[in-house]
């Protein structure tokens, strides 16, 4: 087949795909609105957006029981109530009542200042506060403990006005360097990766399955078009869609939730397209199995879950051990996500991540090669 024929066939397939998409409002809605929008909005709403800091414990009803009834314990209450971390401290409970109420949803923790609290502090001993917590709520215990310690770090029972400056309790202070990112900023890279992978897989693997079921793959198969042109045409089509998706996610993140990526838009879109290509290659391989559309979607869902766990989406790969680690370090998506994260959050130049990028590129080429071969030998499965 000549080069010009290949290019013209590829272009014809790409344009045809867009034409079919244009006629299918549901597909447009799902592909370009529901998936990027839902995912990004859920992250934004859940985390409060970039730059938003909110205290996890601020609005949680917590019982405060003062068994000491001293000046010091009163001052503890005042500090906590003013702190911004404990807006719903409820007094008046008895300890046994309060503990019994935990788990009903009326209160989530019980702070108890024991008798003798002030005495201990005035004698230069450490004062103990006990917190009974409904820790069936994940991370609540550590959040309450952290906020209590933070607010009482320099508590001095002898002073009516507590020190304003947050002092250092330890002789060795840790000076933290490195830009801090909000949960939204970090989550954004996860969402971008998820959206791209999820939608791309559906469009490619699901797309070929659909064509196979509807008989249009057979139509292409009896025409002079080659398999390479079909794959190339669908690839360009999906790259176009992914560019739009990446822009939607970025626009929503920046203008809706105040995210500030540390790299330019072109880099973000470029990296997204690279991830899309990788996923497309894999999607083509799966499409050769001749599964129905619904089965492909289920497979896709399992794949995304798998990547979720092992690709550094929600758990840093450094934390994985043994077999999990081996899997993680062999997944090209993990390297892609790492590159996106470092480029978007830290602004690390791409050339410094050449190894990771190379791994992704090589994997993409390998996937496409395997896909071409597998689709060729699976031709009958797709046209029957």
């Amino acid at each position: 087949m000549s080069k010009s024929k290949f290019l013209s066939d590829t272009l014809a397939v790409t344009i045809n795909e867009f034409r079919v998409l244009r006629r299918n409002r549901t597909a447009i809605l799902l592909s370009l609105v529901v998936i990027p929008f839902f995912f990004t909005a859920a992250l934004g709403v859940g985390s409060g957006g970039a730059g938003t800091s909110y205290s996890v414990t601020a609005k949680i009803p917590i019982a405060f029981i003062d068994d000491d009834q001293t000046v010091a314990s009163g001052r503890v209450y005042a500090i906590l109530a003013r702190s911004g971390d404990f807006h719903q401290l409820i007094q008046g409970y008895r300890e046994d009542n309060a503990i019994a109420t935990l788990g009903t949803g009326k209160i989530y923790a019980v702070i108890v200042i024991p008798k003798g609290f002030q005495d201990r502090l005035l004698n230069d001993q450490v004062g103990h506060i006990t917190v009974y917590v409904d820790d069936s709520v994940a991370d609540l215990g550590s959040a309450i403990q952290g906020n209590l310690l933070k607010n009482l770090q320099d508590f001095n029972p002898r002073l009516e006005v507590q020190p304003v400056r947050v002092g250092v309790s330890s002789p060795i202070e840790i000076v933290a360097r490195g830009v801090k990112f909000s949960g939204f900023d970090v989550g954004l890279t996860v969402i971008l990766g998820l959206v791209i992978i999820f939608a791309t897989f559906y469009e490619i693997a699901g797309g070929i399955s659909r064509e196979s079921e509807e008989g249009t793959y057979a139509r292409l198969a009896v025409s002079p078009i080659g398999l390479g042109a079909i794959m190339a045409g669908k690839t360009f089509y999906d790259l176009g869609l992914n560019a739009v998706r990446a822009l939607i996610v970025c626009a929503l993140a920046v203008y809706g939730y105040g995210a500030r990526p540390n790299t330019d838009l072109l880099t973000i879109v470029g990296l997204s397209l690279l991830m899309a290509l990788l996923t497309m290659g894999f999607g083509f391989i799966i499409s050769a199995l001749g599964l129905g559309v619904r089965a492909v979607i289920i497979v896709e869902f399992f794949l995304v879950l798998f990547l979720f766990a092992f690709s550094g989406f929600i758990i840093d790969r450094e934390l994985l051990t043994g077999f999990s680690k081996t899997i993680s370090y062999s997944l090209p998506w993990a390297y892609g996500i790492e590159v996106i994260r470092r480029a978007v959050l830290i602004g690390q130049p791409l050339w410094t991540m050449a190894n990771q990028l190379m791994f992704v590129v090589v994997s993409t080429v390998v996937f496409y090669g395997i896909a071409y071969f597998v689709l060729k030998i699976s031709r009958e499965r797709l046209v029957i």
């Binding site: 066939d9 014809a12 045809n16 034409r19 008989g215 139509r219 009896v222 009958e380 046209v383």
Partner: protein
């Protein structure tokens, strides 16, 4: 002498343990309208799918428009058009959009493509339907759309697989006339059908496929002559014993006998006295006759006749005595 547009050499297709097409050898001349006739599951569609490169033959090959089917499938595809189940158009696009897309794949350039598309839409009288999505068309119009797509690039060979099924009689007639016209213009057509009466209306020659094998090839007149010699009688009886059935079976002229209570179905060589013979035999055995009807032969009965009887079928299909016994039990 006309060139052979299609020539098959031991074309075989096996799916797992099932042989769908078994050593098919036939040829089709240029400009011929060749019918492939056979019941459902005979292997007609599988044959067509192999010839249009959708399926790869397990063994054997074919020459299509001078190109080897197995070695040069891409070149074969340029020469053929296909209307077959499972080879569809994009439902979300209009027929016009589908044709324009396909024209690009067949290297029809801009103006030529537009012209050809317009020509086809006018030929088939699409008018405003041309802008409608394919999914919104009725099955008849969809079929027309499929034919347009098949002949868009003026192929040398056209495969029409069960193309009249689901069409009303007028549309079916119009389609047959259209196809005949194409052949007159030099297009070779392979027409598959399971309707006995169809090949005689348009085909130049007919190949009978049964059990994946080509049983017979001949002109429709030959076919008709053989079938017209066949007579089928259905007698509604009661209390028919096995002894009586065996006695009737022993009558020389009978080709095939099947008893599905209360109907006794006999196919035989045309014999004006046969009805009287049968009636006498049954009455002498004390069988009560409720009704006697003369029927058209079924496809299988016709095949049995055309292929020289059950023994011939068994020989061709390699059925042994056990198989025959089973089939006999089933026919009681």
């Amino acid at each position: 002498m006309l060139e052979k547009a299609i020539e098959t050499h031991n074309l075989t297709k096996v799916f797992g343990h099932f042989t769908a097409v078994d050593g098919l050898n036939f040829d089709v001349r240029e400009g011929e309208l060749f019918g492939l006739l056979g019941p459902n599951g005979a292997g007609k569609t599988t044959t067509v799918r192999m010839l249009c490169t959708l399926l790869e033959p397990t063994t054997g090959t074919a020459t299509i428009a001078g190109y080897d089917l197995v070695k040069e499938p891409a070149k074969v595809r340029r020469q053929i058009g296909v209307v077959s189940e499972g080879v569809m158009l994009y439902k979300d696009l209009s027929i016009e959009e589908n044709l324009k897309f396909l024209s690009k794949l067949y290297d029809l350039s801009g103006e030529k493509a537009d012209q050809r598309v317009k020509e086809l839409l006018e030929m088939f009288d699409f008018r405003e339907k041309a802008k409608r999505q394919v999914r919104a068309l009725s099955s008849g119009w969809t079929k027309k759309a499929l034919i347009c797509a098949a002949i868009l690039h003026r192929p040398k060979i056209l495969f029409l697989d069960e193309v009249t099924s689901g069409l009303d009689p007028q549309s079916a007639t119009a389609l047959r006339d259209f196809t005949r016209n194409l052949c007159n213009q030099g297009v070779t057509v392979v027409w598959t059908t399971h309707y006995m009466t169809e090949p005689e209306k348009i085909c130049d020659r007919v190949g009978i496929v049964y059990g994946g094998r080509m049983i017979q090839i001949g002109s429709p007149n030959d076919l008709k002559r053989k079938v017209s010699e066949l007579s089928v009688m259905e007698i509604e009886v009661s209390n028919l014993s096995q002894e009586t059935i065996d006695k009737i079976r022993s009558v020389q002229e009978i080709c095939n006998l099947r008893y599905e209570p209360p109907f006794l179905r006999i196919s035989c060589e045309r014999d004006d006295e046969l009805t009287e013979k049968m009636t006498k035999t049954l009455l002498s055995e004390g069988v009560k006759i409720r009704a006697i009807n003369t029927l058209e032969p079924t496809l299988e009965e016709a095949f049995i006749k055309l292929t020289g009887g059950e023994d011939e079928i068994d020989r061709i299909l390699g059925r042994n005595d056990t198989d025959r016994q089973v089939m006999k039990e089933r026919s009681k």
